[in-house]
């Protein structure tokens, strides 16, 4: 049943313009980050790590959450226009499956985006000539993966918002506000308790210290918890709504 829903989602997305956004935003954030690094080379002495602080700052703190919000708004708007929910919810598939299919689709898109961002980071490093002086930091793969896991929590919540709110822009606006809330919580040490600051922690944006085993455990538990909560809210809305 999930496969059938995914098939349908794929047909809808294949010919859409969301791909453009998926390409442009990571490139944009990598460019800004790289430019920042380039101009401040004098103080950014730590090679690949310094480059990561710059590119991931713009990406992880701003563009990635926005990108997620846009993707979620997009896949939901497909159903809001022309009352397509009428058709989708009258199909012989369970309502949770319909929601999960959207989570999976956006999740897969963002996995691709994370890999793309990794490639951009490596390219930027080569252009800056880092490979000549420094060895490549193995932590980066962990940051990319944990960044993706944290993204899933944001995806679940954004999809809930976007199924509830018919507008495209409002959920995106909410996610911008959430970015600042996330920063605040991160600074006050409560980072593990909010999807957006989990992202900051998981991607090693503001601190490149490795996470302790305990922190990794908390991280995993919170990811599962948030994804479950977001999905439950979204599914509850779809089951209840007289759409």
């Amino acid at each position: 049943m999930l496969l059938r829903c995914l098939g349908a989602e794929w047909v809808k997305l294949r010919r859409s313009r969301i791909w453009l956004v998926l390409l442009v935003l990571p490139v944009f954030s990598a460019l800004i980050g790289f430019a920042n690094y380039w101009m401040n080379q004098a103080i950014l002495q730590n090679g690949w790590y310094s480059l990561w602080t710059q590119v991931s700052l713009f990406y992880g703190e701003f563009f990635l959450p926005i990108l997620i919000a846009i993707c979620c708004s997009f896949v939901c708007r497909l159903e809001h226009v022309n009352r397509n929910w009428n058709v989708i919810l009258a199909a012989p598939v369970s309502t949770p499956t319909i929601f999960f299919a959207k989570v999976v689709v956006v999740g897969v898109l963002l996995f691709a985006v994370q890999l793309f961002f990794l490639v951009l980071y490596i390219c930027a490093g080569f252009i800056a000539g880092l490979h000549a002086h420094f060895s490549f930091p193995p932590e980066v793969f962990g940051w990319i993966m944990r960044g993706w896991l944290a993204s899933l929590t944001i995806i679940a919540f954004q999809l809930w918002l976007s199924t509830r709110i018919q507008s495209f822009a409002v959920p995106v606006g909410i996610s911008v506000c959430a970015v600042f809330v996330g920063l605040g919580l991160y600074v006050s040490g409560l980072g593990m308790f909010f999807p957006l600051s989990i992202l900051t922690i998981g991607m090693g944006v503001l601190s490149q210290e490795s996470l302790s085993l305990g922190e990794l455990g908390t991280f995993a538990v919170m990811c599962v918890l948030f994804v479950t909560t977001g999905c439950a809210l979204g599914i509850r809305h779809l089951t209840r709504a007289g759409l």
Binding site: A8, N86, G242
Partner: protein
């Protein structure tokens, strides 16, 4: 005849207002059931409850003899629907839209071809639906509803936006569905004229209440014919009749009365002649279905 849809006291309340109130529908197998009502009568709301798109406030729905809430997926897999305006993905072509439904319902390719052919969209199937005319979108919606050749088809105002030729075509198509594919059709409309030629049964809903359910003949029989009389002097005749406690109205040079049996007609005739007024004509007029419908629902509609 098996009953395909049966609702019991089906009601939907928004706030304190009932949009649908205690509706008991009974749609038999192989029927084309015309669900008739003016704008805002509660047609779409009722049809949505049949599909689980709106949760009933009270009452129950059973389809194919099974309780809907407990057999939702099984019932939906045998049901096709087009509710309110046609749904579609504008950035995709007609064919791609069908593919979306094909994936969701897991049907073979040949069904897609066949459904497009039935609604005559084969030639436009590679055009983006955003560029379709309203009539073409409506056809695409019908094709999506027929895609899996379901046992039950629910169509909400399917001829909205179609030109007269298109309306005729869709009417023929709907008429053919029961014998050609063994489907049962539930069809809503706010125009009696659109339904009376295709429907084998009708239900009339108004202000959320089902006012009538049955065949066309039953509807016709339910309403009493009018008697039209033409006399030498209608004004004088009218006064005579009013003394007999009748209340004729004057229309096109005729006196029109309701609720007249054979005996009453003979009595009035005699009374007029005794009063020295010649009677030229006595005619019985059956009400047209349209005026029966209008007298049930009120000319001004419900909005």
């Amino acid at each position: 005849m098996n009953t395909v849809i049966r609702t019991e006291n089906l009601s939907k309340r928004y706030g304190v207002v009932y949009s649908v109130q205690r509706v008991n529908l009974a749609v038999g197998e192989g029927e084309v059931y015309g669900f008739l009502g003016p704008n805002g009568a509660g047609k779409s709301t009722t049809l949505k409850m049949l599909l689980g798109l709106v949760k009933p406030s009270e009452g129950s729905v059973s389809v194919f003899g099974k309780d809907f809430s407990r057999n939702r997926l099984e019932i939906l897999s045998q049901t096709g629907s087009l509710i309110e305006a046609p749904s579609y993905y504008g950035h995709l072509t007609g064919l791609e839209n069908m593919r979306v439904m094909q994936r969701l319902r897991d049907v073979p390719d040949k069904h897609v071809e066949k459904a497009l052919q039935i609604v005559r969209l084969e030639k436009q199937k590679n055009k983006k639906v955003d560029q379709y005319s309203l009539g073409m979108k409506q056809r695409l919606g019908i094709a999506m509803a027929l895609l899996h050749f379901p046992k039950l088809v629910i169509l909400d105002e399917p001829t909205n936006g179609l030109d007269p030729a298109g309306i005729g075509e869709i009417r023929e198509l709907i008429q053919s569905l029961p014998h050609e594919y063994g489907m049962t059709v539930l069809l809503s409309s706010h125009l009696l004229s659109e339904i009376e030629q295709v429907a084998t049964s009708i239900g009339i809903i108004h202000g959320g209440k089902l006012l009538f359910q049955g065949s066309m003949e039953q509807l016709q029989r339910n309403s009493q014919p009018h008697v039209w009389m033409k006399t030498q002097d209608n004004e004088k005749a009218r006064r005579v009749l009013q003394e007999m406690e009748l209340s004729p109205s004057l229309q096109d040079g005729f006196l029109v009365m309701e609720g007249m049996g054979d005996r009453e007609v003979a009595q009035t005739n005699r009374a007029l002649i005794m009063a020295g007024i010649d009677v030229y004509r006595i005619e019985e007029h059956k009400k047209s279905l349209e005026s029966i419908f209008l007298s049930l629902t009120g000319k001004e509609g419900s909005l």
